[in-house]
Symmetry: D3
Subunit: 132 residues, 6 copies
């Protein structure tokens, strides 16, 4: 893909800041010839084109992503963005409020799944903080 370098570089910086160096290093290291194209595309568009914009603060963008990923039913990316939200300064209470709002608009099964996944991430982070 003819992703121009500056867009990709800008996106990669923001992605590192939001999701953490460790996560991004792992994603890049795991990329294969087959998957590299989507890593580049997502870094350039989601992070380079959208998250780079100053119009909304990162905390709000994180909360929006949690709401959308619940509605879209994408558990893997949802968990990644729970981590990102907490790194971006969202509190557990912020996340709780967003997910409860999904219960009313996306239905109870969507919200129950989102709470279950977010709880797992919170547990993992607690474990990780104990071991470091």
């Amino acid at each position: 893909m003819s992703v121009d370098e500056s867009r990709f570089a800008r996106g990669l910086d923001i992605r590192r800041e939001v999701l953490g160096d460790a996560h991004v290093e792992r994603s890049l290291a795991q990329a294969t010839d087959f998957t590299r194209v989507v890593q580049e595309y997502v870094t350039a568009t989601c992070w380079g084109d959208v998250w780079s914009r100053p119009g909304l603060d990162r905390r709000t963008r994180s909360l929006l992503n949690l709401a959308m990923l619940t509605a879209l039913n994408r558990p893997h990316e949802f968990s990644v963005h729970v981590r990102g939200a907490l790194r971006n300064g969202c509190t557990q209470q912020d996340i709780q409020e967003v997910l409860l709002q999904t219960a009313a608009y996306c239905g109870a099964p969507a919200a129950l799944e989102a709470f279950r996944l977010a709880q797992q991430v919170i547990e993992q982070l607690r474990q990780e903080s104990l071991t470091t």
Copy 2:
């Protein structure tokens, strides 16, 4: 959440009757400060506001849930409600008919997934009945 007590209590009773005491005890015991709010909300709304209504019998409500959860693509809740449906007096044939109908309206991949999950629940119940 300012869930009034009577709604929650009424919902909890019905939820126990439909999903079984063991399942509900487990859900309540596993609830954390983070997830408790959604447990309360779902008990009060799905069970206290909707399932408590006399307009449809529980067997029909279970079948409707299986159809909706297949369409909504929510495997965890789907499996919970297969158990509930069998407890509510739905036969395996009732469930089979509902799931085959999803093949026509939600598409083959949705129905194949639903049959696979329902089959697993049926197996588990058979195992459980052998060990008790």
Copy 3:
């Protein structure tokens, strides 16, 4: 499509009984060389393969369809099946209960849309009964 004749014929009979002769005549008359294939496919599969099965009564099949079509967000077919449900002996209260249950499981926006569409069909049927 090599739809065998008996399946199609059986499906067409049931479709007429559920949706009404007038609706089915109109669908068939409007079919073009381009759309005929899907009319035949749907008649043979949904009606000939699924609705023809004795395992569930038609009233329950109609209620399941209303729940699925709400979850799937398909307003045109939803309205067709509200009509079908009333022809199949579902009461307005049955439909009301199903749609309220969608509010809890599919979310409020899905249910609000479903109630709006069902109300329109009920109005139309009232008008039609006045003019005949």
Copy 4:
């Protein structure tokens, strides 16, 4: 539905503040015996249970709803909530940012539809402000 009075009353107040008296009066006036149950349920749950919570400000709740309604593909409710968002103090730029973020996560067709609908609401509000 046994919606307790205080929840409904609290929800109705917030719904009026967010969506405007005119909109809410119209909804209530148009409610029929058939649709009243969902009006009451939505007022009590979405507005009385969720929007009443102090954990997130209304501006953020509006932005979350726009993101979810785009993902869920519910144009009618989306337009209602664009109006609500502007009443809640969201700027056009806030809305623009949310909808552009949906392009990356929900896909281009979802975002194009959301921009089209939001533009129509903005036009309508401009017309209304000229005629009053």
Copy 5:
């Protein structure tokens, strides 16, 4: 958005070739300060990043879009891409085959809607060819 010029220009050329100059002129002329950002984003990403790639021919890309837009339930964009598909050299029979395949995988309601919309576009094109 910091869409680099070459990506946008490349995307705009392809978009014109696929959807026609008239359609693209209209989209650009109708763009407002509010909607311009999504027009630029979509032109740069969908058309500049993806459609510009040589790995699949345009006819196949059109058929893929029709299948995805049916699954995603996006009628407006679906109709735009039916036109694009016919311009790209897809035959009516190609489109018919794709849409029948959606009946099996996305369910009958999705396919019925897609056939209805595609039929309307075919009618419009017939009318347009008569008047020019």
Copy 6:
């Protein structure tokens, strides 16, 4: 289900050719009294009614399925059809192009999931080819 024998037989042949004898043998062997009905229905409709049609080549049908299954969010069937696509003569690059196109139209989370699953299938096939 009154699936006529010739449709089922024709479907079974094509399903074997596309998905491989081993996969189909396993599916049939695992079928229970509960799940057999959906195996028969899917073989007769998806394979017997749709894939049997000469209007599109199998390679294109496979690519369409990958796009639809990504949009529909059905990981199990998606993985089955990645295998089928490679058997049908689709190259890894073809699949890569389809999945990148889903990023633009279905959103980044859908495409990231699809790439992850397809990569796993590619790995498994590599392992299998080493051990045989």
